[in-house]
Amino acid sequence: MAMNPRRKRRLLWALGLIAGVAVAFSIILYALSQNIDLFYTPTEVVEGKGKDAVKPAVGQRLRIGGMVVEDSVKRNQETLEVEFLVTDIGPEVKILYTGILPDLFREGQGIVAQGVMIEPTVMKATEVLAKHDEEYMPPELAEQMKGIKHVNPNQPDAFEGNQ
């Protein structure tokens, strides 16, 4: 179908504008990609991030995100102090935290901790957030499929089986 040349020019102009801005934004986002990441993974903390393998320095303020290692959560019985290990695909980083953890915090669950590195693999966290995944199912199904003995979070003794 032959297009009116003026329309054709306007169409090319509009598509060119969108394409140009898209290219500009992809370059900007590519350049900023490391800064857009919300957190470092434990592997990136231990082995370094990116091509230059930059490791965070002691005293640096950052966020670390990973899975809470099973059986690594140690609570101080008198205070709100808690320490635990997080991992992703191997290396582990220790997180120290004083405060109330979110409801979804449990071993094997993803978390994001923000704080200051006090040793190369130890962070003193000021904030611990829980991540959850994109799976949704009723408790009975979760028990069948995953063998998870869950946990109606509304029951007062809900989390005792986990500890």
Binding site: A22, L38, T41, L101, L104, E127, D133, Y136
Partner: protein, 252 residues
């Protein structure tokens, strides 16, 4: 195709057509939205991890999905309005943008309300949340530009350019959770894979999505009719249309 489409470029034809569809779409919206929300909020089972808190998904996911698809519709209207210079495509900007902005705001608000008990924070500047906030600003910007000029055609032109350029944000929102590591989890609903969600939760979610979609359509049809009237106020067909109704009102 143009010959077939041409009658629909007349404002009065579109006005009457939307008026005929509106009650049906509105009724279907009330039905599906009611069914989806009652099923989801009352009858669907609680989640194994999140308990009842996850139920906000029945509002959060439909509004978030629609906020993005309405933006694509907005950008397409803007493109058609710029390239083919169709007045009605320009007016569609004014019809779609407030509905999209409201849905975006609802998705941000429900997300924050969900985030506080589950993640432990109302807001985090991660890629998904930030790009969705930018979407809200884009909608508001399109609306502001549309109404910023005394000559409506200039407003539609400026708003249309912003709407077209802003469409770049849509893939960024969609893939933000894959390209960068974020606090927000990945997508549950994808086109090609079976969603990792039990059917007893998935069906009410899909019905809610349909319900919010129909509601958005009904609101947009209504706003489009208003915008057509606003723009065509001095045209004879409007006077005929409402003159007739006035006469009838006088007779009864």
């Amino acid at each position: 195709m143009w010959r077939w489409l041409h009658p629909y470029a007349k404002p009065e034809v579109v006005y009457r057509l939307l008026g005929r569809w509106l009650p049906w779409v509105a009724a279907a919206a009330a039905l599906t939205l009611g069914a989806g929300l009652v099923w989801g909020l009352v009858f669907a089972p609680a989640d194994y991890q999140q308990g009842d808190s996850y139920r906000i998904i029945f509002v959060h996911v439909p509004t978030a999905m629609l906020s993005m698809s309405l933006y694509v519709a907005l950008a397409i209207s803007a493109l058609v309005g710029r390239v083919w210079q169709l007045k009605m495509a320009d007016w569609a900007l004014a019809a779609i943008a407030p509905v999209g902005a409201t849905l975006t705001f609802i998705s941000l608000a429900t997300g924050a309300i969900w985030g506080k008990p589950m993640w432990g924070t109302w807001w985090e500047w991660d890629a998904r949340l930030t790009s969705q906030l930018i979407l809200l600003f884009l909608y508001i910007g399109v609306l502001a530009l549309y109404h910023a000029f005394s000559d409506n055609r200039n407003g539609a032109k400026a708003a249309g350019i912003l709407a077209m350029v802003g469409v770049i944000n849509i893939p960024i929102i969609r893939y933000s959770v894959e390209w960068w590591n974020t606090l927000h989890q990945g997508a549950t609903l994808t086109v090609f894979e079976r969603p990792p969600m039990a059917n007893s939760m998935l069906f009410p979610l899909l019905i809610s999505i349909l319900g919010f979609g129909l509601l958005a359509a009904a609101l947009i049809f209504h706003r489009m009719r208003n915008e057509i009237l606003r723009q065509e106020l001095r045209r004879p067909w409007v006077k005929n249309e409402f003159g007739k109704e006035l006469n009838e009102a006088e007779r009864t």
